[in-house]
């Protein structure tokens, strides 16, 4: 078969830089608007006012649960907005990068043959992992006071007005072995170790894939499989723990045993949609000639199946909390169902991430044609971006949140950088594995 090499053309780079420029422009306009409006300019404000009376009692509960009654954090609303948006996009795109590695690892562990020609795409997306690690640490240290209520020192001082017994009981999880309220050593250690491990596995698996191109044989495939299996075990734990650390601890009083799975499911299906979309665009640009409808069908099935999986996890989390109706748990959903813009995102989330992929990708033909995949995959990606928005923003912004130019601008900045890093990594390696032991099987793949 012909060797293929992806060339990251200047036109493609220019398009991404334009996207970045538009993102920065929107971001600046958004910040300017937020600064001048004092944080109460968002659409749906009237609805919020109307809703406040209806749910006054729950709001009091919510405020008490959040430990925020009458207390306001230092930063102005516009700055909190920037922090919330940065953290939301950082977690979302970090997930897409990690899913790149996870996808490759799954293929090795399952000894999958069909995916041999497309494995370089997720591998290239994994190049975002170290950048995501640095960004996560930097944003965390800059914005911790506004993003994470539990970092405040006065919550852990006994016999004072600010003392929070619930958080004090959970403090070991953040601060061990140091005293509560100080530097969260255990938490930061987990963050560093997880990104370190993910990146180590990424470089090792990538090294074996690259050496296989040159040396051939099956020993590199076996080594990569072994590494992948170990990585999957570690990822099973670290994906859940990072979901609790980075997303669930924004609402520190609230907890859900489904949350680790929920974040993983959202990452996974958004990552699958990204991989499918990149493969489709590479094919459009004349690359990946050996990828045919059968491979697209498999990718389409992945997106379809895991959209349903995500819905299953979403429902399992929502249903139990809805039915048990315990105030400390329902407060999470009341915050998200009764207040704009979270309320419309809450329902749009279900339409974009379940109804649309379920109905549009149901037939065999839809999964086998790029035209339909190119419609559904962006829907799923945007849908899960909104899903993460609703996980992060309400806990940080309370009722000051909004979805406007600022948020879209940050998303475009992150998206263009993510694609730039991914495509740049893709152009540095052969687009298709040269000596993959299962390439022949994949070329004859037929379903």
């Amino acid at each position: 078969m012909a060797d293929e090499q992806y060339i990251f053309k200047p036109e493609a780079k220019r398009k991404l830089f334009m996207l970045l420029g538009v993102g920065i422009l929107l971001f600046v306009i958004g910040v300017f608007m937020a600064m001048n409006s004092g944080g109460h300019e968002e659409g749906g404000h009237g609805a919020l006012e109307a809703g406040k009376n209806l749910v006054a009692s729950t709001e009091v509960v919510a405020a008490a649960e959040e430990g925020e009654a009458g207390e306001h954090h230092g930063s102005p609303v516009w700055l909190k907005k920037i922090y919330a948006s940065l953290w939301h996009n950082n977690i979302f795109f970090a997930g897409l990068g990690i899913i790149g590695l996870f996808f490759v690892a799954i293929q090795y562990a399952a000894q999958a043959g069909w995916s041999a020609p497309i494995k370089r795409v997720p591998l290239a997306l994994g190049q975002w992992i170290p950048i995501a690690g640095v960004l996560t640490l930097v944003i965390w240290f800059v914005a911790k006071g506004d993003l994470f209520h539990w970092t405040h020192h006065d919550l852990y001082v006994k016999d004072t007005a600010g003392y929070d017994k619930i958080l004090d009981q959970k403090s070991v999880y953040f601060f061990w072995p140091l005293p509560a309220g100080g530097f969260p050593l255990f938490y930061i250690l987990r963050m560093v170790v997880f990104f370190g491990l993910w990146y180590w596995f990424y470089t090792m698996i990538k090294k074996h894939m690259m050496t296989e191109d040159i040396e051939g044989g099956t020993q590199h495939w076996y080594s990569a499989r072994k590494l992948s299996a170990i990585f999957l075990v570690i990822f099973a734990v670290s994906s859940s723990v990072s979901a609790w650390d980075w997303v669930m601890s924004i609402d520190p009083h609230w907890f859900s045993t489904m949350f680790g799975w929920y974040v993983f499911a959202s990452w996974w299906v958004a990552g699958l949609a990204t991989i499918t979309l990149v493969v489709a665009y590479l094919k459009d640009a004349g690359y990946l000639k050996m990828v045919n409808q059968n491979h697209l069908h498999d990718l389409g099935k992945f997106v379809f199946a895991f959209s349903i999986f995500w819905t299953y996890i979403w429902f399992s989390q929502f249903m139990l909390i809805y039915y048990a109706n315990i105030p400390e748990e329902t407060v999470y959903f009341i915050e998200r169902i009764k207040h704009a813009p979270y309320s419309w995102i809450f329902y749009v989330n279900l339409i974009l991430n379940f109804v649309m992929p379920f109905l549009l990708l149901m037939t065999r033909d839809a999964k086998r044609h790029m035209s339909m995949l190119k419609v559904v995959c962006p829907i799923v990606i945007v849908g899960h971006w909104l899903d993460f928005y609703n996980m992060v923003t309400p806990g940080v912004m309370q009722y000051d949140g909004g979805l406007g130019l600022l948020e879209i601008g940050v998303a475009l900045i992150f998206g263009s950088l993510f694609l730039f890093v991914g495509l740049n990594a893709l152009s540095k390696m052969p687009l298709v594995a040269k000596n993959h032991p299962m390439m022949e099987e994949s070329l004859n793949h037929h379903i």
Partner: protein, 175 residues
């Protein structure tokens, strides 16, 4: 049983590769193949025989949709109108608790409906005894049945075409 006997030519193939190529060759000669029976699934045989894709998924979707609607109507009518009960302080008609039942009925009707449709379409009625063209199709031989009434060519010609295309033996079978 109809009184007029149906005459079939039965070609026996030893190997699935020979069979697959044979099917192409035989169809090129204009012979209509009634059916091919194999001891295991042969990949690509459906395409070689020119079968259209099954429309069973459409039936499955319709049955599933029936199940969804049936489940929702049933629960809304029962718990909302016929015998309203307060459960857990929820509204009489509240969607989330209805979803698990709706899901189950969707899957149940979809599955049962699909099996029933498949049985009817494949002519596998309970009282119907299957025709055995050659008992070795359950062991190690691929068996091709050709309905002589559906073909214009003579028995001898078809027999020769089968032999030319890899059949190890050709028998006659009347029902």
């Amino acid at each position: 049983m109809s009184s007029t006997s149906e005459k079939f030519l039965v070609g026996i193939f030893d190997d699935e590769d020979i069979l697959l190529h044979g099917v192409d060759g035989i169809r090129e000669k204009g012979v209509k193949i009634h059916e091919v029976y194999t001891p295991f699934p042969v990949h690509g045989l459906d395409e070689a025989l020119g079968y259209k894709r099954s429309r069973l998924p459409i039936a499955a979707f319709m049955f599933g949709l029936t199940g969804t609607i049936l489940a929702l109507v049933m629960q809304i009518w029962m718990l909302g109108f016929d015998w309203p009960m307060i459960i857990g302080g929820k509204n009489f008609v509240s969607l989330p608790p209805f979803i698990p039942v709706t899901f189950e009925l969707t899957v149940l009707l979809s599955a049962l409906g699909m099996v029933a449709t498949f049985m009817i379409v494949s002519d596998m009625k309970p009282y119907k005894w299957p025709r055995t063209y050659d008992i070795r199709s359950t062991d190690d031989k691929h068996v091709m049945a050709i309905d002589l009434a559906a073909n214009k060519l003579s028995k001898e010609e078809i027999s020769r075409i089968l032999k030319d295309n890899g059949a190890s033996e050709v028998n006659e079978k009347n029902f």
